[in-house]
Amino acid sequence: MNCKNAEELIADRELGLLEGGQVNELEQHLSECADCRKLADEYAFAAEALKESRADTVPPALADEVLAKAGKIHGKQSKIFRLAVPAVAAAAVLLAVVLSPVFFSKDSSDMTTLQVLEAYAEDFEAIGMEDGIGDYDTGFRYEDFGVSDTLTTYINQ
């Protein structure tokens, strides 16, 4: 073993990375080389300083400050959750009510457009919204949507 190899093993020893057979090998070299023994002392000294410099104390307020800030995040997330859940639930109920005729009253897969609209009307009547349908009948004009008179006549037929 030369001194360069020895230095690597000395460093490994201080890092706790030396493997079985290397221990004896290094010891043998150190017993014969005064320069490497001095080097080994320096490594031991440096490694000890690194170990002793561990942060055995932390700023006393660290945990409290982190928890206080995390509490705000936690609170914000809870608030969003508290507001969002009822809002989503309300929207879902409203949507279900509006779309229920389509999904629950009749199977519309083989119905014409007119039959679907009639089914809508029946369902609106059934849930007490016939006045709304009346307004729809009287208030709606195809012309308002740019449909020609000829086409309107055809559609109405």
Binding site: L17, F45, L50, S53, R54, A55, H74
Partner: protein, 185 residues
């Protein structure tokens, strides 16, 4: 290293506030120490520690509670550490910390704090890739394969970086004149 148990990790993942408290109590020493070794000052280490815990809490849904907690947590910490070093535009090997000269007459009375300060200064002269390996080894007590997992590199590369890091640290820490003086203390 002995970390938090898997049950606490799962509770942390679920947003349990008490589990966060456990995580802070268990890891604040390691995280603060890593901050000191990476960034070199108490103030920066404190900011770093706060950021690590808050960031972990905010991103907890990215942690897979079926897997060990430490690799995920320390990976997040090291990424934040690297980001802070990048923000500083730190040049590896730069000498951006004031050197504290220990007075010969005060040698006997060198305080523990001054020694730690000298260690921190020596660390700031190392390349960040060496610094982060030494920090994970000496502060978080991580094993070779754990450091490899945190940093996403092979255990062999970790071993090389640790070795070179310690060599460079030894050179800086025991540089001419200082070693004999420090030894007397």
């Amino acid at each position: 290293m002995k970390g938090i148990d898997q049950d606490s990790a799962k509770k942390f993942h679920d947003g349990d506030f008490e589990a966060l408290r456990n995580v802070i109590e268990r890891y604040q020493g390691s995280v603060f120490g890593i901050g000191l070794k990476l960034l070199g000052s108490v103030d920066d280490a404190k900011d770093f520690s706060q950021d690590v815990f808050l960031h972990a809490y905010e991103k907890r849904d990215r942690y897979d509670p079926e897997r060990p907690f430490e690799p995920w947590f320390f990976k997040l910490a090291m990424n934040l550490g690297r980001q802070k070093l990048r923000n500083r535009r730190e040049i590896p090997g730069s000498d951006n910390m004031p050197v504290e000269v220990i007075e010969e007459t005060a040698c006997k009375g060198v305080l523990e704090g001054e020694r730690k300060e000298r260690v921190r200064h020596a660390l700031t002269t190392l390349k960040p890739i060496y610094r982060e390996c030494l920090a994970l080894r000496f502060e978080a007590d991580l094993k070779l394969h754990e450091i490899a997992e945190v940093l996403g590199i092979s255990p062999e590369t970790v071993k090389t970086r640790l070795r070179r890091g310690l060599m460079a640290f030894k050179e800086s820490y025991t540089k001419a004149g200082d070693y004999s003086e420090l030894q007397k203390c």
